[in-house]
C-alpha cells in the first residue's frame, strides 16, 4: 500500500546484500506484521478485559441507561461516570463490556465460516485441479454460479423463515457460500503448479498422486492458502455483520453488528449517542483494515514479484 515505505530496511540490509543476507526473510513483511500486530493487540485487550472487567454488564438492564463516555455529556447533560468509561446504551448495557464480549464473537463467526469454506475449498480445488475432466467442469460451474449469487440475499431469505438462530448456525450458513472463492483460487494455483518441474519429477519417480498433492504441492501453497483464508475470513465477517445489521442476529449476548443494528433502530445518530454506534463501527473498521494488511503481506510473501515492487 504505502509505496514510500521501503521493505529493504525491515527485510534487513541493502538491496545488493539482500540475496546474501540470511535475515532477508520474506515473513518479515511490514504489512503482514502490522496487520497481525493489530489483531494480536485486539485479542490482548479482549483477554485483559475479560480478566479485569465484569462482562455481565453486557446484559440488558445491568447499568444506567444512555450514559456518555467519561469526559462527555449526553443530551440530558449527564456526565460520563468512571463505572462505565465508554458509556452505556438505551437498555442499560455497558459499552465496554459489550465490546469485550462482542468483538471475539464477531471475529469468531468469520473464523468458523472461513475454516469450513477453506476446508471444502482445499478439497474441491485440489480435486478439480488434479483430476480434471468432468469433475473439473462440474466444480468450475458450481464455483462460478456460487460466486455470481450475492450471498447476502440468499442468507436473508433463509433467515426470514428461520426462527432466531445462534452464532454457530449463522457461521455455518455463511460457509455455504464461503467455499467458492478459495476453490477457484486453489484450483488455479494447483493447475499452474502441476506443470512445474518438481511435480513432474515426483510423478516420474512414481510418487502416488495423493502424496504429490499433500506433500509436494500443499507446502508450496501455504502462503497462498493463508492469504486465501484471511480473505475468506474478511468476507465471512462482512456477511455476518451484514446479516446482523438487518436485525438477524443473536439477541441476548450481542456481537458488534447487533449492537450497531440496535443503535440504528434506536436512532442513536439523531440522539447524538455516537459512542453507541461509533465505537463498534471503528473497531470493526480496524479489524477489516488489519485483515487486509495481513492479506496483502501474505500476497507479497507468496509472490516475490510483488515484493520487488516495494
Amino acid at each position: 500500500m504505502a509505496e514510500n515505505t521501503s521493505d529493504a530496511p525491515v527485510a534487513g540490509g541493502t538491496k545488493e546484500a539482500g540475496l546474501l543476507n540470511r535475515f532477508d526473510n520474506p515473513w518479515l513483511n511490514w504489512k503482514f506484521l502490522t496487520g497481525a500486530g493489530i489483531i494480536g493487540f485486539i485479542f490482548f485487550l479482549i483477554f485483559l478485559g475479560n480478566q479485569l472487567w465484569d462482562t455481565e454488564l453486557a446484559l440488558a438492564g445491568a447499568s444506567p441507561l444512555n450514559m456518555p463516555p467519561v469526559g462527555f455529556t449526553n443530551w440530558r447533560n449527564q456526565e460520563g461516570i468512571p463505572e462505565h468509561p465508554l458509556g452505556t446504551e438505551n437498555s442499560g448495557r455497558d459499552m465496554l463490556a459489550l465490546l469485550i464480549v462482542g468483538t471475539p464473537r464477531t471475529i469468531g463467526v468469520g473464523a468458523i465460516a472461513a475454516s469450513v469454506g477453506m476446508a471444502v475449498g482445499i478439497l474441491l480445488g485440489f480435486l478439480a485441479g488434479f483430476v480434471g475432466g468432468w469433475v473439473d467442469d462440474v466444480v468450475r460451474l458450481a464455483t462460478d454460479v456460487t460466486i455470481t449469487i450475492p450471498s447476502l440475499l440468499v442468507l436473508i431469505v433463509i433467515q426470514a423463515v428461520l426462527p432466531r438462530i445462534d452464532l454457530l448456525t449463522m457461521a455455518l450458513l455463511i460457509s455455504m457460500f464461503a467455499w467458492a472463492t478459495p476453490t477457484r483460487y486453489i484450483r488455479a494455483q494447483v493447475l499452474s503448479m502441476r506443470e512445474s518441474g518438481y511435480v513432474q519429477m515426483a510423478r516420474l519417480s512414481g510418487v502416488p498422486t495423493r502424496d504429490i498433492m499433500y506433500r509436494e504441492i500443499m507446502p508450496n501453497l501455504l502462503p497462498y492458502l493463508a492469504a486465501s483464508y484471511i480473505g475468506n475470513m474478511t468476507g465471512a465477517i462482512l456477511s455476518a455483520v451484514g446479516l446482523e445489521l438487518l436485525g438477524f442476529g443473536p439477541q441476548r449476548i450481542p456481537s458488534l453488528g447487533v449492537t450497531i443494528f440496535w443503535s440504528i433502530e434506536a436512532a442513536a445518530l439523531l440522539r447524538n449517542m455516537w459512542w453507541w454506534w461509533g465505537i463498534p463501527t471503528v473497531i470493526l473498521a480496524v479489524v477489516f483494515i488489519a485483515l487486509l494488511l495481513i492479506n496483502l503481506g501474505l500476497d507479497e510473501i507468496a509472490n516475490p514479484r510483488l515484493r520487488k515492487a516495494n
Binding site: 500500500m1 504505502a2 509505496e3 514510500n4 460451474l141 462460478d144 454460479v145 460466486i147 455470481t148 449469487i149 450475492p150 450471498s151 447476502l152 440475499l153 440468499v154 436473508i156 431469505v157 433463509i158 426470514a160 423463515v161 428461520l162 472463492t181 477457484r184 474478511t234 468476507g235 462482512l238 456477511s239 455483520v241 451484514g242 445489521l245 438487518l246 436485525g247 450497531i260 440504528i264 445518530l269 447524538n272 455516537w274 454506534w277 461509533g278 463501527t281 470493526l284 473498521a285 477489516f288 483494515i289 485483515l291 487486509l292 496483502l296 500476497d299 509472490n303 514479484r305 510483488l306 520487488k308 515492487a309
Partner: protein, 341 residues
C-alpha cells in the same frame, strides 16, 4: 477485435441460466424447510407483528392458489419455476393489492443507477491510481497521497456510510443545514420527472451513498492494478517500447494499462456479487429508494413474498451484469476468441 468462440459463449450462457435456476430453486426450497404451513406461519407472524391483518383471508386464498399447496411437490416446483421465470412474483403481502413485480420495477432502476455509477467511478479511479502507483514517472507526492487515500479500503460500505452520515449529516453543518442529505434518493416532495432540477437532486442525494461504496472499494482495484503493472514492467516488449523511443504516456496507456486491465475485468465479474451485497446495506443506511430498502421493508413487515421476489430479481440482475462483462471481455482481449477457455 475478435468474435467470441462458440465454446466461450455457450459456457457463459450456461453459467447465467444455471445461476437463475439455482436462485429460483433455492427460493422454492427454503420456505419449505421451515416447520409448519408456510402461509399460516406467515399470517400468524404478521398478526403477531401488526396485531391485525387486513384482508387476511384474501391473502391466504391468493397465496394458497399461487402455491397450490395441495398439489404434489414436483407440480408445485414446476409451476413455481414457470411463474418465476415469467417474473410473476406474486403479491406483496404488506402492500397487498400491489404485486412484487410492480414494487421491484420501481426500485430496481435506482439500485442499478447507484451501483452502476459507483462501479464506474471506483473502477476508473482505482485502476488509474494503481497504474500511477507502479509507474516510474509518477510524481513523488502522488505516490504518497494515493496510498493515504486508500486507508479505508476493505471497511464494509455499510459501516462507512454510517460514518459519512454522521460527518456530513450531523457534524458539518452549513447555516444549520446538513451538508448532504441523509435520506432518500431525491428531495422530498419532488416527483420523478426528466428535468434538470430533479436530476440535480438525484445526484446530490446519491453522492454520499455512492461515495460510501467508492471510497472503501477503489483501493482493491488500485492494489490489483499495481500488482499487474509490476509484472508487466518486467516484460521484454516494455524494453523494446522504450528502446523504440515511444512517448512515456503512450507506453503507459497502450502497453501497460491496456494489458493490465484485462485481469481486472475478470476480477470485476467475480466481485459483482459482493458489490450487490454491500449496496443493499448501503441503501438501507441511507433509506435509498432501491432494492435494498425494499428488502428491508419486507423484513420489517414480515412480507416474505417481497423478500423472495426482490432477492430473486437482484440475483438475476447480478448474473446479468456478470454475463455482460464476460461477453464484452473478448472485445478488449482478442486472445479469448482464439482459445476455447
Amino acid at each position: 477485435m475478435g468474435s467470441f468462440s462458440l465454446n466461450y459463449l455457450l459456457r457463459r450462457l450456461l453459467v447465467f441460466f444455471l445461476t437463475v435456476w439455482v436462485a429460483a430453486t433455492l427460493i422454492f426450497i427454503i420456505p419449505r424447510l421451515a416447520p409448519g404451513d408456510p402461509i399460516q406461519a406467515m399470517i400468524a407472524r404478521m398478526t403477531q407483528f401488526e396485531g391485525y391483518v387486513e384482508n387476511a383471508d384474501l391473502i391466504i386464498e391468493a397465496w394458497r392458489k399461487r402455491f397450490g399447496l395441495d398439489d404434489p411437490l414436483y407440480v408445485q416446483y414446476f409451476r413455481f419455476i414457470g411463474n418465476t421465470l415469467r417474473l410473476d412474483l406474486g403479491y406483496s403481502m404488506a402492500n397487498f393489492p400491489a404485486t412484487v413485480y410492480e414494487l421491484v420495477g420501481r426500485a430496481l432502476p435506482w439500485t442499478i443507477g447507484l451501483v452502476g455509477i459507483a462501479t464506474f467511478i471506483f473502477f476508473t479511479v482505482g485502476n488509474l491510481c494503481g497504474a500511477l502507483l507502479a509507474w516510474y514517472r509518477t510524481p513523488k507526492w502522488l505516490k504518497v497521497l494515493i496510498p493515504m487515500s486508500m486507508t479505508f479500503t476493505s471497511v464494509p460500505p455499510a459501516l462507512f456510510s454510517l460514518l459519512l452520515v454522521y460527518i456530513f449529516g450531523f457534524l458539518i453543518r452549513v447555516n444549520n443545514n446538513p451538508l448532504f442529505p441523509q435520506v432518500g434518493a431525491y428531495a422530498r416532495g419532488m416527483a420523478p420527472e426528466f428535468t434538470l432540477e430533479f436530476f440535480g437532486s438525484v445526484l446530490y442525494h446519491g453522492f454520499l451513498p455512492a461515495m460510501s461504496i467508492v471510497l472503501v472499494t477503489f483501493g482493491f482495484w488500485a492494489l490489483g492494478m499495481r500488482g499487474m503493472m509490476v509484472t508487466i514492467e518486467g516484460e521484454d516488449y516494455m524494453i523494446l517500447a522504450q528502446a523504440k523511443g515511444l512517448k512515456p504516456f503512450y507506453v503507459l496507456y497502450r502497453y501497460m494499462i491496456r494489458n493490465a486491465i484485462l485481469p481486472q475485468m475478470t476480477a470485476l465479474a467475480v466481485s459483482i456479487g459482493t458489490l450487490i451485497n454491500g449496496s443493499v446495506l448501503v441503501e438501507i443506511m441511507f433509506v435509498y429508494n432501491g432494492m435494498g430498502s425494499l428488502i428491508y421493508s419486507g423484513i420489517a413487515n414480515q412480507d416474505f413474498g417481497l423478500i423472495q421476489g426482490t432477492s430473486f430479481i437482484l440475483i438475476v440482475t447480478s448474473a446479468l451484469a456478470v454475463l455482460i462483462i464476460d461477453l464484452t471481455y473478448p472485445l478488449i482481449d482478442p486472445r479469448i476468441s482464439l482459445e476455447g477457455r
